[in-house]
Subunit: 197 residues, 2 copies
C-alpha cells in the first residue's frame, strides 16, 4: 500500500485541520498514513524566529484566525484560538509518540487537537494531557512516565531533525513519493502523489 | 452582479497562477473581478523585509519553486523562475493601471505574467514591457509616458496604501463580501463568498 508521512505540530492551527481530515481521505485514496509528530520550535529558531510567525506578523495572525474559522465552518468543526498561542506542545508530542507505539496515537492526536483548538484548553499543562490519555482508557501515570524516558525524548528529537533534513519549514507537511508538500491545502495533492507512486 | 477585488503583484509567483485562472472561474460564478495591481515591497518593508520571504527563508523558497511547478503542471502552464527573483514590478504595475483605464489591462497583466514566469523574461526592463504593450496593438511610447504621469504614480501608491489598510500582507489577495482571502488556493472560496453576498 502506498504511504504518506504526515508531519504535524500540536501548536499548529492548520495541523489541527489536517489531522481532522486526513484519515477518511487517506482511506478513500488507499494510502497508509504515518503520523509523525515533531516540534517546529527548533526549526523556527534556526531561521531566527522565537515565536509563531502569526505573532511576529500581526496582520498575518489576524488573517489566520479568520481563515481557520472559515475552513472549520466548511468542515463543521469548531475553531477557537487557545491562550497562550502558540501552546507549549512538548508533552503532547512525547505522549503522542508513546501512543503511536501502543496503537492509540492517532486517536490521542485528534483528541489533543479538539481540546486545544475546539475547546481552547491549555495542552501545555501536563494535567490536561493526562486527562486526554485517561479519557482514551489508558493509565496516564505510566504513559506520562514513559513520555519522559530517554527513548521517547530521543525519538522526538530525531523526528524534528529528520523534518529539518527533509526541508520542512512549517506544519503540517507531507512527504509523498519523496516530495514535500506544505500545508493543509496540499493534503489532497500529496495523497494523489502517494497513490500514484 | 457581485464583485471581487483581486489584488495582485507582478513579482509574485502565486499571483501569476491566480491571474491565469481567475477569468473563467469568475465567469462561471457570475462574479465581476476588479483587477487591482499593487506593490508588495512597501508592505514587506513595513514588516522588516527587504526582499521576498522566498529569498529570506531558502527552504521556503526551494519549496515554492517545486510547488509552483506542480500547480502549473496541473493547469498545463509552464513555470520558470526569472532572474533576478523577485523582479522589479514598478513599471509593469503602472502600465497595468493605464491598461485598466483603457480596457486592455487584464490581457496586459496575463501577458506580463507569461513573459515573466513562463518565458523567464525580465519585466523590470521597460523595453520588455513596451514590447508587451506593442504586441497587444497599443502605442508603447504614449502608454509608457502615461505610466510615468503623476496621476498613475499616485494611483499605484493609493492602491498599495489601500491594500495595507485592508490588512493585506501577501499576494495574491482577494476581497469578497468585505472579507480578506489570501493566496491562489483561496480563489474559489473567495468567489463563492462574493457570489453569495
Amino acid at each position: 500500500m502506498p504511504a504518506l508521512d504526515f508531519f504535524y505540530e500540536f501548536a499548529s492551527t492548520y495541523s489541527y485541520i489536517a489531522a481532522m481530515r486526513i484519515a477518511p481521505l487517506a482511506k478513500t485514496a488507499g494510502v497508509t498514513v504515518r503520523w509523525q509528530p515533531f516540534l517546529l520550535g527548533p526549526i523556527f529558531k534556526a531561521q531566527g524566529w522565537d515565536t509563531s510567525p502569526f505573532n511576529l506578523y500581526p496582520a498575518k495572525g489576524r488573517y489566520m484566525v479568520r481563515d481557520c474559522e472559515r475552513q472549520c465552518a466548511d468542515l463543521r468543526l469548531t475553531f477557537r484560538l487557545p491562550e497562550p498561542f502558540p501552546q507549549n506542545s512538548l508533552v503532547a508530542a512525547r505522549v503522542a509518540l508513546v501512543g503511536l507505539e501502543q496503537g492509540w496515537g492517532e486517536d490521542f492526536s485528534r483528541a489533543v487537537y479538539r481540546t486545544e483548538f475546539s475547546e481552547g484548553g491549555n495542552i501545555g499543562d501536563a494535567a490536561v494531557i493526562a486527562g486526554v490519555v485517561r479519557a482514551l482508557g489508558h493509565d496516564s501515570t505510566a504513559v506520562l512516565a514513559r513520555a519522559q524516558s530517554d527513548a521517547i525524548k530521543g525519538k522526538l528529537r530525531a523526528e524534528t531533525e529528520e523534518a529539518q533534513r527533509l526541508g520542512i519549514f512549517g506544519a503540517p507537511s507531507f512527504i509523498a513519493a519523496g516530495e514535500l508538500f506544505w500545508g493543509n491545502d496540499r493534503l489532497e495533492q500529496a495523497l494523489e502523489f502517494a497513490r500514484r507512486s
